[in-house]
Amino acid sequence: MNTTAANWDQILFVVLPYAVMFVFLLGTIMRYRKAPFTYSSLSSQFLENQQHFWGLVPFHYGIITVLSGHVIAFLIPRQVLLWNSRPLRLYVLEISALIFGLLTLVGLGGCITRRLTVSKIREVTSLLDWHVFALLLVQVASGVYVAVFHPWGSSWFASVLSPYLWSLVKFQPDLGYVAALPFAVKLHIASAYAIIGLAPFTRLVHVLVVPNPYLWRKPQVVRWYRPSRSTPGNS
């Protein structure tokens, strides 16, 4: 490998992850302390709800599943490799991951199209939002490309990238795992770092304030002030 490529690897896969994690931690804490009410996805559902459904629903179901898969392969790589030790199970896992990856891509495409084509939504889209969309598009498209053209990601992520990420966690970065990976894989990793670094300054912070209590809180009774169909005239 030539020196320039080695230097870039050092910057992108050793310096950048520490830098973005630092910015992410500091930025999210500072924003929560200084402007807690900006912790929001700034939903535009109220302005347009037709295209919104076909963008947001597939995107969120897709990204949550795919991200969970990445986290599982990072945390328990041996168990993932054990599951993949039967080719049929490997294929089932990979096809499922591709399905959710494609749903994410379709959903993201829907979100971007909606922002571009609906004037009300375009009006409330900041320059920073467009940067976030561009980065997400690079991230998701490169992820789908990697899944299709560099299979089998669940196995080699557990074998190659999980030890690399753990080497970062242990402050003993080992570039050997990533130095010779294909360009698309490196792009996918680097753009993930870029998204993490940018997240504290964007609407992406909403991932930290997902209303989890919705899952276990008691049901709320909602009363509508409108005529009932069964008793006309009764409000």
């Binding site: 490998m1 310096v15 520490y18 630092f22 910015v23 500091l26 930025g27 500072m30 924003r31 200084k34 402007a35 109220f46 709800n49 037709q50 459904f53 597939p58 179901y61 490799l81 993949n84 030790s85 080719p87 049929l88 490997l90 294929y91 990979e94 096809i95 499922s96 591709l98 399905i99 959710f100 990856g101 494609l102 749903l103 409330v124 889209t125 900041s126 320059l127 920073l128 299709v148 053209f149 560099h150 299979p151 089998w152 196995s155 080699w156 557990a158 074998s159 190659v160 402050f171 003993q172 080992d174 050997g176 795992y177 130095a179 010779a180 990976l181 294909p182 300054f201 409108r226 006309p232």
Partner: protein, 303 residues
């Protein structure tokens, strides 16, 4: 740009800059701690040769993927070797005739420069090769049997290749990153660059069983080195894997793109099914504020 988010952005950036300035000494110390070269682990020249060179070279054991290095100091002078080894491609790009001759004899495969090679380490390696050449000892090239493989070897090899039988030292199965033409199903992985991911014709690229066996014992690429340096493939396991590769070379062509297309189409079909499911599950969803109000009014009017 939304004025609110613009104001927030500038405030956040300013606050972050203030914090970074306040923490400058802590950050500088952390950076020095993190990014100072840790120093190459103590490793003698013999161990370095075994780990980084013996996948392709022997000293007196004959040619593998690369030439036998016995008496290499008599074929080229040290200055030339010290220019070539860290960056073979640069020598070839300059049109050096001997470098081009080496490229031709390696069937177009350019030697990957060894990792962690300093000028001092390079001198140590060259001294080591010179001393071993003079001693007459043979380094590398042995271990893999010449006997024909059996049906049992093939079964073992296929298990090791696909992962149904784990490698004894815990290394990952070949299928994670490589494929061969006889795998069936959706085939094997394709992480390695084209055409290295397909091992069906690897004997032609690297020069036969002995060369590929040596490679499996001490892989030279950075990714495989990282994976197998502490979990080496054992000689009997390497032989069984080679049986799978030889069987594929004898009984099939190289892996084609059909499994990839099948894989993509299955994924696409699943994604379409997912979209249909979303549409069906939320068919009674709230669609718009004004639309539902107008429909409600019309309904009331009809009643």
């Amino acid at each position: 740009m939304n004025p609110h988010s613009c104001r927030y952005w500038s405030e956040a950036a300013r606050s972050l800059a203030v914090v970074l300035v306040r923490l400058r000494f802590v950050l500088a110390a952390a950076a020095i701690f993190l990014f100072l070269p840790a120093g190459a682990p103590a490793q003698d020249a013999a161990a370095f040769f075994k780990q980084n060179c013996s996948s392709c070279h022997t000293i007196g054991g004959g040619r593998l993927a690369g030439p036998d290095l016995k008496n290499v100091h008599t074929r080229r002078d040290r200055a030339w070797l010290k220019q070539y080894i860290p960056n073979p491609r640069a020598m070839m790009d300059r049109g050096d005739p001997y470098a081009l001759k080496l490229l031709q004899s390696a069937q177009g495969v350019i030697m990957p420069p060894p990792q962690g090679l300093t000028d001092a380490r390079l001198d140590e390696i060259l001294n080591f090769i010179e001393a071993e050449s003079k001693s007459g000892r043979v380094w590398g090239g042995g271990g893999i049997s010449d006997r024909p493989y059996t049906a049992a070897d093939l079964v073992t090899g296929r298990g090791l290749f696909t992962g149904t039988t784990p490698l004894s030292k815990g290394g990952p199965a070949c299928i994670s990153c490589h494929t061969v033409g006889t795998l069936g199903g959706l085939g094997g992985g394709r992480l390695a660059p084209f055409p290295q991911y397909d091992l069906t014709r690897v004997y032609e690229r690297l020069g036969g069983r002995k060369a590929v066996g040596a490679w499996l014992s001490a892989p030279a690429t950075p990714t495989m080195q990282a994976l197998f340096k502490n979990r080496p493939i054992q000689t009997d396991e390497a032989f069984a894997i080679l049986a799978t590769i030889e069987d594929a070379a004898a009984n099939s062509g190289e892996a084609d793109a059909v499994p990839l297309l099948d894989f993509f189409l299955m994924g696409l079909g699943g994604a379409v099914l997912g979209l249909v499911t979303f549409g069906t599950a939320w068919r009674t969803r709230f669609r718009s504020v004004r639309g539902s109000m107008v429909r409600g009014e019309l309904q009331r009017g009809e009643e």
